[in-house]
């Protein structure tokens, strides 16, 4: 089915947004109000949508060139000098090339650095596994002190950026460039470390993050037609990890996780670890198995089941395992 990978045909995609626009708008607004806010980039002004920021605040864009270790180290230094640095670059390079700087200079040192991973997951599609960032969850999740947030839509992106600016400590914001709709949740409040209930359900819980959340909602709608009541939870905070939300999910007896990431070590890994030790229940993980073959974003989502039908199938499988 054409367009099923991202959950909608072209016609219904009006009102969908690239979350980088919300990021750029929000960081510009914050910078207007606080002269200490600066951005640090690795030749990534364009890919970070920071052209407007650069026009308004040319001195506050620190471009270190194509040098990721220095990118992150400079962020830690700027924080030492009283600035609030948002270090923005493609997730694949920011988190992999500079991982030791993220670990030592930022997380271990508790430096007030905001890492903004752009074009995360498989946003670079056909450019391949060197440019995919699907391992970042696995290598950032064990780092103490580092808050890891994967916003699900433009609203949450803006709220997470605002929150990060006011929070004293290290943060990783994992942004996508894949257009997504705003989730339809009344009276939302962004609370880092807390999973967000998107849709109540009583048979199976789908814990999703980022670009997979709106697909999980559609999967729940599909399952409802089969009289399966699926809860959908937006698990945007991978760290701190909302154990209560996983406990509540496990109490239903069947769990699905869904993420635009390698399932080894990411959200699915975290949920599996927790449930195995505390409340063993079936967990079906939707995500990528490893290095991916050549393909567009849509091709790869479809091929590996990061789809409405793929998530629904995982839910049925989890329920079937519970029944055994």
């Amino acid at each position: 089915m054409a367009g099923s990978a991202t959950g909608a045909g072209e016609a219904s995609r009006q009102g969908w947004h690239d979350c980088r626009e919300a990021w750029a708008r929000t960081i510009e607004g914050l910078a207007e109000a606080d002269p200490n806010i600066v951005v640090v980039v690795n030749d990534s002004v364009g890919s970070s949508k920071l052209g407007g920021f650069q026009k308004k605040f040319p001195d506050r864009v620190i471009n270190v060139g194509i040098a990721e270790q220095t990118l992150v180290g400079v962020g830690a230094g700027l924080a030492n000098g009283g600035k609030i640095p948002f270090v923005s670059g493609a997730s694949c390079f920011l988190t992999a090339r500079a991982l030791e700087q993220v670990k030592a200079d930022v997380a271990y040192a508790k430096a007030n650095v905001k890492l903004v991973g752009q074009s995360s997951g498989i946003a670079y599609g056909e450019l391949g596994p060197t440019h995919h960032s699907i391992e970042d969850f696995a290598w950032l999740r064990p780092l103490d002190n580092l808050t890891v947030i994967t916003p699900a839509d433009p609203w949450e992106t803006a709220e997470a950026v605002k929150w990060a600016a006011g929070y004293e400590g290290p943060v990783y914001l994992r942004l996508s460039r894949m257009p997504v709709p705003n989730l339809d949740i009344p009276n939302r409040v962004f609370r880092p470390g807390h999973a967000e209930l998107v849709r109540e359900g009583t048979d199976v819980a789908i814990l999703a993050c980022g670009t997979l959340v709106h697909l999980a909602v559609q999967a729940a709608n599909l399952l409802a037609k089969e009289d399966i009541s699926a809860r959908v939870v937006n698990f945007s905070s991978l760290a701190p990890f909302d154990r209560d939300a996983v406990r509540a999910a496990a109490s239903l007896g069947a769990i699905v996780t869904a993420e635009e990431a390698n399932i080894r070590g990411g959200l699915g890994g975290a949920v599996a670890e927790f449930t195995a030790e505390n409340m063993p229940v079936p967990v079906q993980r939707v995500g990528f198995p490893g290095f991916l073959p050549t393909g567009s974003i849509e091709d790869l989502f479809e091929a590996f089941g990061l789809t409405v039908t793929g998530i629904a199938a995982a839910a049925r499988k989890s329920l079937a395992r519970r029944a055994r």
């Binding site: 600066v38 640090v40 001195d59 506050r60 620190i62 270190v64 060139g65 040098a67 270790q69 220095t70 992150v72 180290g73 400079v74 962020g75 830690a76 230094g77 700027l78 924080a79 030492n80 000098g81 009283g82 600035k83 640095p85 030791e100 700087q101 030592a104 200079d105 271990y108 040192a109 508790k110 430096a111």
Partner: protein
Amino acid sequence: MSPLNDTAAGIRAKAGWMRRHALKMVYDKQLGHLGGDFSATDILATLYFGVMRYDAKTPGLPGRDRFIMSKGHATGAFYSVLAAAGYFPEDWLSTYMQPNSKLNGHPNRNYLPGIETNTGPLGHGLPVALGIAIAGKLSRLDYRTFVLTGDGELQEGSNWEAAMSAGNRHLSHLTVIVDRNRLQQGAGTEETNGLDPLDDKFRAFGWHVEMVDGHDVEALLAVLGAPVGDRRKPLCVIANTVKGKGVSFMENKAMWHHGVPSAAQYEQALKELV
């Protein structure tokens, strides 16, 4: 804030105190990096007692000069100078690397005052110092940022990323001091992955370079204490040093990178470090 402006003789006395404490710390724990502690000691004593502006009782002052210990394994020297400068009580030195000590094998800024960033893995100090210097320029503060690197450490590419950026930005208030003892963990730097001509390398990256005897306190004071003036370049001080300086049987021996003294060696070294 102004520098303590100790005399050269006073600084040499502080350096002797630091070496004796580092020796005891490493001997008691039977763990540490004395060779690199001793090559760096005179540089640290000169910075803290003759050059840098800071208030050890108020370590977070925005206008303070910053020091980054990029060769983070040389904590015998680093913790000794911080204690001598009054950042924490001298008796804490005896807890060096003991269980749950604030004096970890590598420095942690969340454990002790006076530590600007956590180091240990090599090649991290200069990029962080670069960020501190950029912040100072943005905030129009005239503080200076000093970073001490080992020489073998310059084999890490991250240093050259940062050196290139610092040169391009004309960061006059940034100073890197290279502890040029010519030995790394297992062998000489030049037989491992040669650095010479190191001065030309930094010049090519846009730095002003000074060469100095890293154990000559007067010479260190002259180079590090000189006003920044209208120099529009970051400063690289290549301090030629002797690994294990001050203890005859340790000097210029790669095995004293992380060698630990026996009881007899400890007594002998103490005698030499009066």
